[in-house]
């Protein structure tokens, strides 16, 4: 952003001299192609943002309507608000346990991922092993393989060992699913620690723990937090594995949502309430990680 605001430097003055306009940094800014304030662009951007947000806002509004008001055509925007949709969602005996299962699977697998990925990322960036980039690309290639192709052996294994419908199985699989991506993200965040700082710490005789705590952690901490949030999001959203490998006991929130796939009379407000409740943790995590979201999702390739 700051790169687009031209500073009134010597080259800027030269540009001004070339233009038939009175010089001065403020007039120069007006003529800069990137920062010309045209209110129409702002209006257009707001319009696009709102169009993309309409489905989400509609979901939120409908979740607070009564079932009768939710199913009118044309829609009743100004219908009275009620919590009935949320009441019937939480009135379902499977709703709350499925949220607990999702929370368990996502949080525990994220902690495992952090425990495994942090040292691995350290060995791939700060003190790199030989052929570190081969290792990185091998890890990434495992994430690109379609999960659906591993589904059958996983299912047969789960049946044979009695792990079917156990939350522990999902935790192990979500850890596997997120580990390669987490290592990539963390490697990119750890690589931002300046080499000079590490060398200075070494010269000062700081041990490994002290270096990690006072040099690496302060720089890399926001990135590590963002990595954790993104892993949490991926685990929370996962459907295919959960749908195939869990049932009544360990079913997660997305599996519970699939009970709304077929229409059941007047149920739109309840569907929207369920969708809101299940999406809230992901929306919260995503907005919390917003600043590092791009770098994380692009595996550190984009800053």
């Amino acid at each position: 952003m700051s790169a687009h605001v031209p500073s009134p430097s010597a080259s800027a003055a030269a540009v001004d001299a070339a233009q038939p306009t009175p010089p001065g940094s403020t007039t120069y800014r007006k003529h800069s192609p990137l920062s010309r304030p045209n209110p129409l662009w702002g209006v257009a951007a707001w319009a696009v943002g709102l169009i993309f947000a309409i489905p989400v806002l509609w979901m939120l509004l409908t979740s607070f309507h009564s079932e009768v008001d939710a199913a009118t055509n044309p829609p009743s925007l100004l219908a009275p608000l009620t919590l009935d949709g949320y009441r019937s969602f939480f009135g379902n005996a499977n709703a709350f346990p499925s949220l607990i299962n999702s929370a368990t699977a996502s949080v525990v697998s994220t902690l495992l991922v952090l425990a495994l990925a942090t040292p691995a990322a350290y060995a791939l960036s700060i003190r790199p092993v030989k052929k570190w980039s081969d290792v990185l690309f091998f890890l990434l290639s495992t994430r690109f393989l379609p999960i659906v192709a591993a589904l059958l052996p996983l299912y047969l294994f789960a049946v044979a060992t009695g792990a079917l419908d156990q939350i522990g199985l999902l935790i192990a699989l979500y850890t596997t699913m997120n580990l390669p991506i987490a290592i990539w993200m963390m490697r990119s965040f750890l690589a931002e620690v300046p080499v000079e700082m590490l060398e200075a710490a070494e010269l000062d005789g700081a041990g490994l723990i002290r270096t990690l705590r006072s040099v690496v952690a302060p720089v890399a901490m926001p990135g590590i937090a963002a990595t954790a949030l993104i892993c949490f999001i991926f685990s929370w959203q996962e459907l295919l594995l959960a749908r195939t490998l869990t049932g009544v006991v360990a079913g997660t929130a997305p599996v519970f949502l699939t009970s709304f796939v077929t229409s059941q009379g007047l149920f739109l407000a309840q569907v929207c309430a369920a969708a809101v409740v299940v999406s809230l943790p992901v929306l919260a995590a995503g907005f919390a990680a917003q600043d590092k979201l791009v770098q994380g999702l692009s595996l550190g390739a984009v800053k």
Partner: protein
């Protein structure tokens, strides 16, 4: 378990330092010290990802139907022959390609246009950016349910409801479209484009903001029109970001299961490969055939992933 293995191996290296090999042992020890933090993660990934795929390959050569457990045996290439002759599977390959190409292409173009808008300064830019990210953060199953029931439902969905309202203003009879039955694939594409455009926008916006300002200024001074500046400066700079967005998006959308399962349950020609494999394995319970389908998908994915790895690696090299 893997941690114990690693430390045990380290210890054996430490305990047998033959005097003449002292130097070599020392450097080997240093190598293992460097490798140690990596090993738990690497061993875990190898076991958890390579073994299932190995099992898939083995099962793909077997005649194994869960409903007829006594007839299990070796099938040779029988399952693969079935994969390539099955018309339903061929159509699901085409559906997968169409779905992926349409969603990636449209969300890239929309994402680029929106990124260009958000690259400008205007009041509330941060708020608009936050609004734009929201679709990407709705849980995919919830998003698919939202589109199926609240937006595209023929009798009370938002789209037909809005048509009723607008036509009602003129006292006309509104068109009411049964989106999911008349345009099933388009409906799924709409929902996915809505979710993936923000992803593309975020990557391309980051690309725009890393654009060197001086080249742009120079082009302006030379009298380039905004369109020319975009064509010859911005677009070449964005090329790698576009590649990255396209390949990462393609990898996720090829694997899409949630939207197809939720919105149409694979009916009306919308069954893509992941859904078809799920169906073969979970409903038809033909394990051998499902495994062969899985192997084919893996091979297809490797082709796409090779491009993905290349674009990630080119950005990585540029970085260092």
């Amino acid at each position: 378990m893997s941690v114990d293995e690693t430390t045990a191996r380290q210890r054996t290296v430490l305990q047998s330092p033959a005097p003449q090999q002292q130097q070599r042992t020392a450097s080997r020890k240093a190598g293992w010290v460097r490798r140690a933090p990596l090993m738990p993660a690497l061993v875990f990934v190898v076991i958890m990802t390579q073994l299932p795929f190995l099992a898939t390959i083995i099962i793909s050569f077997m005649d194994w139907q869960a409903l007829r457990p006594n007839e299990r045996g070796f099938a040779g290439l029988g399952n693969y022959a079935q994969v390539f002759t099955d018309a339903g599977l061929r159509s699901s390959v085409i559906t997968t390609i169409v779905l992926t190409v349409v969603v990636v292409a449209v969300s890239l173009v929309l994402g680029l246009l929106i990124a260009l808008l958000l690259d400008r300064k205007f009041f509330g830019r941060g708020a608009v950016r936050t609004l734009m990210i929201a679709p990407f953060l709705v849980v995919p199953v919830a998003a698919a349910l939202l589109w199926k029931h609240a937006i595209l439902n023929p009798s009370y969905g938002l789209v037909n409801g809005t048509l009723t309202w607008v036509w009602g203003l003129f006292g006309a009879r509104p068109p009411q479209i049964a989106w999911l039955t008349e345009f099933p694939l388009l409906s799924i594409e709409l929902a996915l484009i809505w979710q993936w455009t923000p992803f593309m926008m975020l990557i391309l916006l980051a690309g725009l903001q890393s654009r060197p300002a001086d080249a742009f200024e120079a082009a302006k001074m030379d009298g380039a029109s905004p369109l020319q500046a975009f064509r010859y400066i911005t677009l070449p700079h964005l090329r790698r970001y576009i590649e990255l967005g396209a390949t990462l998006g393609a990898i996720y959308i090829v694997q899409n299961f949630d939207a197809v399962f939720t919105m149409t349950s694979g009916a009306l020609g919308t069954a893509n490969l992941p859904y078809t494999i799920y169906q073969t394995f979970f409903v038809r319970q033909d394990y051998g055939l499902a495994a062969a389908q899985g192997v084919i998908v893996v091979i297809g994915t490797i082709v796409v992933a090779t491009f993905a790895l290349r674009s990630v690696s080119s950005l990585l090299k540029e970085d260092s």
